[in-house]
């Protein structure tokens, strides 16, 4: 294989995943949390594709495509929720959403 | 894989019976009789298994096998089959469960369909534990025992049943979860959950996870806190099954899983376990000697007996194993029989308090004879099958150190003391305040479900080698044991 090893791709994937995780953990805007989640998913996708290349099998790519589909679904539902929240005139701040508390 | 269908039938027959009884709109009597019929057929099938099992060193250790892939990717399969000890224990379970069901029919338990369905479910679970050859399957059956027991104690028990079920549940769950952890780690790391294929393991932690489940269920001192409460509150026949049959599942687990599949950890941990067993043996005997009621005596004597059985198992030699298996069969029969007698006495007098009983031998020859016979076999009078079992156990444990046998010998004397106290308190001296003249002798139907147990014990007394001779060829099956099997 020309160019960098799979290791390098995995490094980038890990970095993206960690960055996305940081965003999820630190941001309060639900939109940005959602975007950070996309970032994490894409980090995982990169890792999947890199391993797919490493083993020469197609399963990793299939998995990545499935992840994309799930991500799209997630965006639909997530954005739907956000819009619903906005329509009910709620603050768009995840720290204000504490209904989960028992 | 010859005759594997027998094993499947033994598992599925009571299950099918349970489902049918639970769903079909049967009257109380019909439900009870159907359950009784199912368990009698179960005994017949066990007879079939007994005759088609070959006690031969050239035949694989596990026989009457059946195997179907369950979760192939994880290496989990429905794999069942009999080992020698499992065969005898299954027979004991089938016989005692039948007696317990007959007892329940006789005393007319409320909510009959739920009750008998639970009893049959329990039979399936117990048999499943004995025949499972896959760790996860073992766990499934192990936990399946808990559900009917929980219901049986919690619904039909005495006034303190809720506390009893809570304690029983919490204690056994704590042990079981540790076992589940062990099973998962073991199965995942090997890629198979099969007990036979997996071979032996050397991991101390996995071993201790299994032991945690077994010491609680058996129970071994000091994990017995649930025992007196549960045995006092459970319906008599359920208490008998609990102490006679369910505890044997734990003892069998010790033998088949903990010892045979973890020889090195067994070797490392046997002394602490023997110490606990010794303490339990003496402790249970002493407490049984002072227990104020019938159930207390039988319950603590059960603790002592389990200590003794553990002695035999962790003697880790053939004499110990054989004695322990024989004693498991004996104790199952004795315990169920005694608890049923306790129940019948309680029905007649309304109490189990020893100081309010007495003088029941006068005019009640059948009760006196049966209680006396069971009692003296329970105290292991020389010549009885319980004596044969204890003798073998102590012979086996002697090679580990004479001190263990001395403890066992002291326990034999203590057993004589507490059993005679029980017998005398019920039968002898002048009539107790709770005994009036309409407390009748055992009636024919009652004899019909107790006498078979006594008969089994007498036959075993004449020929204990029926069990010990055809039991284990562990050294052949588990070469790793040779290291410490003399």
């Amino acid at each position: 294989m020309k160019g960098p090893d799979v290791t390098w791709y995995l490094g980038v994937a890990a970095f993206m995943f960690a960055t996305g995780a940081l965003g999820v953990l630190l941001r309060r805007s639900p939109l940005i949390v959602l975007l950070s989640l996309e970032l994490m998913l894409n980090g995982a996708n990169l890792a999947l594709i890199a391993f797919s290349r490493l083993h020469g099998g197609g399963a990793g790519q299939i998995f990545a495509l499935s992840v994309m589909a799930v991500a799209a679904s997630e965006v639909v539902v997530g954005l739907g929720l956000i819009v619903a929240m906005a329509r009910r005139n709620l603050t768009l701040d995840v720290d204000k959403l504490t209904w989960l508390r028992g | 894989m010859a005759n594997g269908w027998l094993t499947d039938t033994l598992i599925l027959l009571p299950l099918g019976g349970a489902i049918f009884i639970a769903l079909a709109p049967l009257s109380r009597l019909a439900a009870g009789l159907l359950a009784l019929a199912v368990s009698l057929v179960e005994i017949a099938f066990w007879g079939g298994a007994l005759t088609s099992y070959r006690f031969d060193q050239n035949i694989p250790f596990v026989q009457l096998e059946d195997r179907t892939t369950w979760f192939g990717e994880l290496g989990i399969s429905y794999h069942v089959g009999f080992t020698g000890p499992a065969l005898w224990l299954t027979g004991m379970a089938a016989v005692t469960m039948t007696a317990a069901i007959a007892y329940a029919v006789w005393v007319r338990r409320e909510h009959a369909r739920a009750y008998f369905a639970s009893m049959l479910l329990l039979t399936t679970a117990v048999v499943g534990v004995f025949v499972a050859q896959d760790y996860l399957l073992f766990y499934v059956f192990w936990e399946a025992m808990l559900i009917p027991l929980y219901v049986l104690v919690g619904v039909w028990g005495g006034p303190g049943r809720l506390r009893a079920t809570l304690m029983f549940f919490i204690y056994t769950m704590a042990g079981s979860l540790l076992m589940l952890t062990s099973i998962i780690v073991l199965g995942i790391s090997r890629g198979t959950f099969d007990i036979v294929e997996g071979g032996v393991s050397n991991s101390d932690w996995i071993f201790l996870g299994f032991v945690a489940a077994f010491v609680v269920k058996a129970p071994i001192f000091p994990f017995h806190a649930w025992l007196p409460v549960a045995y006092r509150e459970a319906p008599a026949e359920v208490a008998g099954v609990l102490s006679g049959v369910v505890s044997k599942a734990a003892a069998y687990g010790f033998l088949y899983i903990a010892i045979l599949h973890f020889p090195h950890p067994t070797h490392d941990f046997r002394t602490p376990i023997l110490v606990l067993a010794a303490i339990g043996l003496i402790y249970g005997s002493v407490l049984a000697f002072r227990a104020p009621d019938l159930r207390g005596v039988v319950a603590y004597s059960s603790l002592a007996q389990l200590g003794l059985i553990t002695f035999g198992l962790f003697a880790t030699n053939l004499a110990g194993f054989n004695g322990a298996v024989l004693q498991m069969v004996n104790h199952g029969l004795i315990s169920v029989g005694l608890f049923m007698l306790v129940g019948l006495v309680e029905l007649r007098t309304g109490t189990g308090k020893l100081d309010r009983l007495g003088g029941m031998a006068r005019g009640r020859p059948a009760l006196a004879t049966v209680l006396m016979t069971l009692g003296i076999i329970a105290l292991a009078v020389p010549g009885s099958s319980a004596f044969a079992g204890e003798f073998m156990i102590l012979t086996g444990v002697f090679t580990s150190g004479w001190g263990w046998s001395v403890v066992g010998a002291i326990a034999i004397v203590l057993a004589a003391m507490y059993m005679l106290r029980l017998i005398s308190a019920v039968l002898h001296r002048s009539k107790g305040s709770a005994v009036d003249d309409d407390a009748r002798d055992l009636r024919l139907p009652e004899l019909a479900f107790i006498l078979p147990l006594v008969a089994c014990l007498i036959v075993l007394s004449a020929w204990p080698a029926a069990v010990t001779d055809h039991n284990l060829d562990v050294v052949n099956a588990f070469p790793a044991l040779e290291r410490f099997v003399p």
Binding site: A14, M16, L22, L26, L35, L65, A72, I82, V83 | -
Partner: protein
């Protein structure tokens, strides 16, 4: 012979250069997504991130995934994002996390720990095993191969994915209509 090596190494160097550019873009845009306070800019940064990822996919010979990434993700999904952000306008801005500082430190700690652990595994535990990728044929990442896989070996996954998408679509519709009815009711009350 030497010219061939030279050509190969030239190709190699070129690949490195492209990879390096894409990786850098990936990292930078990833940081940008997280750090912009305006979601609009974050979303744009994510589009850039997805595009550079597509380049990395191409370098890994996954042509179809790269194309899907650009068309579906960067195209369709992100446009939806941008629509929503535009719809919500300024309300979408929320400050950075407040709360106890312990929480923030723990968050950074956890994220860094994950990163460090993966790098440690890559560097120490798995080094040799990752440097020998399998030989692949030309149709490794081609649409034909992906299609074949989807309709043979991974048919179940394919079907389940489609069901998930359908359910998500239904969920989106329900959420939207519900919100609209709520709005209508509130309007009616006023």
């Amino acid at each position: 012979m030497s010219s061939l090596v030279l050509a190969a190494s030239a190709g190699n160097v070129l690949t490195w250069v492209v990879w390096f550019g894409a990786a850098l873009a990936c990292v930078a845009s990833g940081i940008a997504v997280v750090s912009f306070s305006n979601p609009f800019y974050s979303a744009l940064a994510l589009i850039g991130n997805l595009a550079s990822l597509a380049v990395l996919y191409l370098l890994l010979s996954a042509e179809f995934v790269a194309a899907a990434q650009v068309l579906v993700y960067a195209g369709a999904v992100m446009v939806m994002f941008l629509f929503v952000i535009a719809y919500l306008g300024g309300r979408a801005d929320a400050p950075w996390a407040g709360g106890p500082s312990l929480h923030r430190f723990a968050a950074v700690g956890a994220a860094v720990a994950i990163l460090v652990e993966v790098l440690v595994v890559l560097g120490l535990k798995a080094g040799g095993e990752l440097s020998h990728p399998a030989r692949i044929s030309g149709d490794f990442g081609s649409p034909a191969e992906i299609g074949r896989l989807f309709l043979t070996d991974h048919l179940l996954a394919f079907e389940i994915t489609s069901v998930v998408l359908l359910i998500a679509a239904v969920g989106g519709v329900v959420l939207g209509s519900h919100a609209r009815r709520l709005q209508a009711e509130e309007a009616g009350l006023e």
